[in-house]
Symmetry: C2
Subunit: 428 residues, 2 copies
């Protein structure tokens, strides 16, 4: 997202200006002597930059990528910590191994099995959120100047991690079924990428899911050209009506050599609680070993206390009880948002109804969504302009809407505000 | 530490061989196609490599750098989580800002004040352990080929972080009062270092403390030559009889320009609990901003749940109740270890009795401590050979002993085993 989203136009309206001043952490904009070239001019997360507006009174935000806190099983988690024997609680305050607590790794292996992933607990690297896995891979796999392939649009924090590692980013087009494979072999030959990053299941930002045959073809091509497939899967369990195809990582037994070429990143943030900061990595032992070394000098290991809490939560099969509720609520909200958009924005917006995850990706006709956002914020509704999700800005008329955090009544209200703000937005 | 410590000689004794096989995470030693040059040949943490021996039956380990789990205030922390109102507990499961929870930053500002550090809560960057601060600085400050100055000996994980960032490391000598400043100005002129890393208070591994006048002179010289002083302070609160001099960071108001040139890293790992993975950074806004960006693509933020637990723990002044106990127990153990070493190893070992922290640094006459360690492990006692703490191996006769984890009776036993294993160790 270019800086104009963050500033242009907003200075003129007093209340947003005040909100910006009061909620922002103040960093001077001067050039620093000490900060290196990679970070000196690096922009912050465009989505986090929008956070300051989400707390304005009566704002209805479709911008966040957050699960609804009201849907987290807080009671069960607290009860579980209360019920933990004192000696177990005390043990959860100690230093642990970088790979993670054995108890949690056992449970994550079982959870992985539900996504078609057979793994041993000892082959799991516990992460402080799956985002950390992207960062560890960027640090341990990429050399300056390496090329990374991504689907367009994709997750912006992954783009940041790859850019900071000095990688060139080549984006491949996607359609309603996710990554388009037509140009992939040419790109593999021409750019010799070190890795492909993909969110193939209810992807961020599109909500789209790559069909099984494309998963297989993608992995086969990656293996042929010695390219590491990094599959980021925070949303795979959040399907509404039909379970998605098995993870790409689960196909590695079917393709010769594939076991060396794929990585799976799982997350508890969307299905248990993001405040625990827990995710996990599956992948070849040599890459995991490098990630363990990088993690040793970083945070050493994920919090032992949250690992123990999550392990007991999973062990008591509380997630299995919770998932049907998450699927039902998010599914209903997705349908509501789709209805509302159809009813109130009609032909001016195009989108596909998501089958899982937290996001709906849309395109409006003839309107730059960065400009529309200014108007929308004045109408107390927010979304993320689509260009934030491209390595190279591609289509200014796209946007990401998250239905996850709003009740159906609020979604209706948000839809009306979107319609009003769009009708008064300037055309491109 | 060279690899011979980890393997040579140990294959021959069956029980250690078995222990190694059963506790090690298995990674193949083959060269990886995907792992980049920085990580392909990077050695693991030598101290973590020793962990596998600490769990052998009846082993008395002086090797760890860990606080005694029995001294953590587990009951109070569990009670506090039990007593948290349901809505506060639920809020502690949400995503948070990268800088940390407001409640915790307020408490960390108060805690910093006890070390002479005046800071606003909004100027605190919460870390997932203070180790992460070193890593974030290595990533955001260093360019390939930059020079880092360190005292010799120093903390190995800091050396790893700097090496992986591609830095050259120049080590400066230290004496019983910590870093020797005689050669510092020459080193600043000759090597033009980007940063100096130092653990000036009850340092790891030496337990030594830099006096106030050296702190002042160090900072003044660093400012003169535009070098960033990174002060790592996990042990400052663990003084036995007399509080240490104020932190270097607290001197920045007295030297013109110093406010742009120093960083302070604090930690809750040694005084509250390491399993919480919490530390904090104070420093100039531009460097903190860069670290926030790096942390955004890494773990996003420290666990909200552990932040909230720590905030309430500090707010209820439970740490203030706990610190006198920690100081008394660690102080008594330090004295016991010193006594035992004097009594059982006599003239063959030289050391200064530590005045705080977790470590005693020693030198034995005419014995390579890496070789002695093999013998010591057979006698069921462990320490860390000193060369692990040097950027360039300097003195094979040094060793680090931690008294933190053993009772006085165990320390006596450990001393006897050290003496027995030393008497049968081969001379250099």
């Amino acid at each position: 997202m270019n800086t104009s989203i963050r500033t242009a136009g907003l200075e003129t309206c007093g209340w947003t200006e005040h909100a910006v001043a009061s909620t922002r952490n103040t960093y001077p904009m001067q050039t620093s002597f000490f900060v290196n070239t990679r970070y000196r001019d690096a922009p912050g997360s465009p989505i986090r930059e929008l956070n300051r507006f989400t707390h304005l009174p009566d704002m209805l935000s479709l911008a966040g990528g957050y699960p609804d806190p009201a849907l987290m099983d807080a009671q069960a988690l607290q009860r579980l910590l209360v019920g933990l024997p004192a000696s177990d609680f005390a043990a959860a305050l100690k230093y642990g191994g970088t790979e993670g607590e054995e108890l949690l790794r056992l449970e994550l292996a079982k959870l992985s099995a539900t996504r078609g992933l057979r793994t041993m607990a000892t082959d799991i690297l516990t992460l402080s959120g799956s985002q950390q896995g992207i960062d560890l891979l960027a640090r341990t796999v990429l050399n300056e100047g390496d090329t990374v392939l991504v689907e367009a649009p994709t997750y912006p924090a992954a783009l940041s991690a790859f850019r900071i590692a000095g990688a060139r980013i080549h984006q491949l087009p996607s359609d309603q079924q996710g990554l388009v494979l037509d140009g992939l072999e040419d790109a593999l030959i021409q750019h010799r990428p070190k890795l492909i990053y993909i969110v193939p299941t209810f992807g961020n930002p599109t909500g789209r899911t790559l069909p099984l045959e494309r998963r297989h073809a993608l992995l086969a091509l990656a293996v042929k050209y010695n390219c590491l497939v990094v599959e980021d899967d925070p949303y795979g369990e959040l399907w509404f009506d039909v379970a998605p195809p098995p993870a790409i990582y689960s196909l590695r037994d079917r393709i010769r050599g594939a076991e060396h070429c794929c990585i799976y990143l799982g997350s508890l943030s969307k299905i248990v609680a993001p405040g625990l900061r827990l995710g996990w990595m599956l992948g070849p032992a040599d890459v995991r070993r490098a990630c363990v070394l990088a993690k040793q000098t970083d945070d050493m290991h994920a919090s032992t206390l949250t690992q123990v809490a999550a392990a007991h939560y999973l062990r008591q099969e509380l997630l299995a009880l919770q998932l049907p509720r998450l699927r039902a609520v998010y599914g209903a909200r997705a349908k509501s948002l789709a209805c509302v958009l159809r009813e109130h924005l009609g032909d001016s917006i195009a989108f596909d109804e998501p089958a899982g995850g937290l996001f709906l990706w849309a395109r409006v006709r003839g309107v730059d969504t960065s400009h529309w956002l200014h108007n929308a914020i004045r109408h107390q509704v927010m979304f993320v302009p689509g260009n934030a999700f491209f390595a190279h800005p591609t289509d200014p008329c796209t946007l990401r809407l998250s239905f996850a955090g709003l009740h159906e009544e609020q979604l209706l209200q948000a839809g009306k505000r979107l319609a009003r703000s769009l009708s008064s937005a300037e055309p491109v």
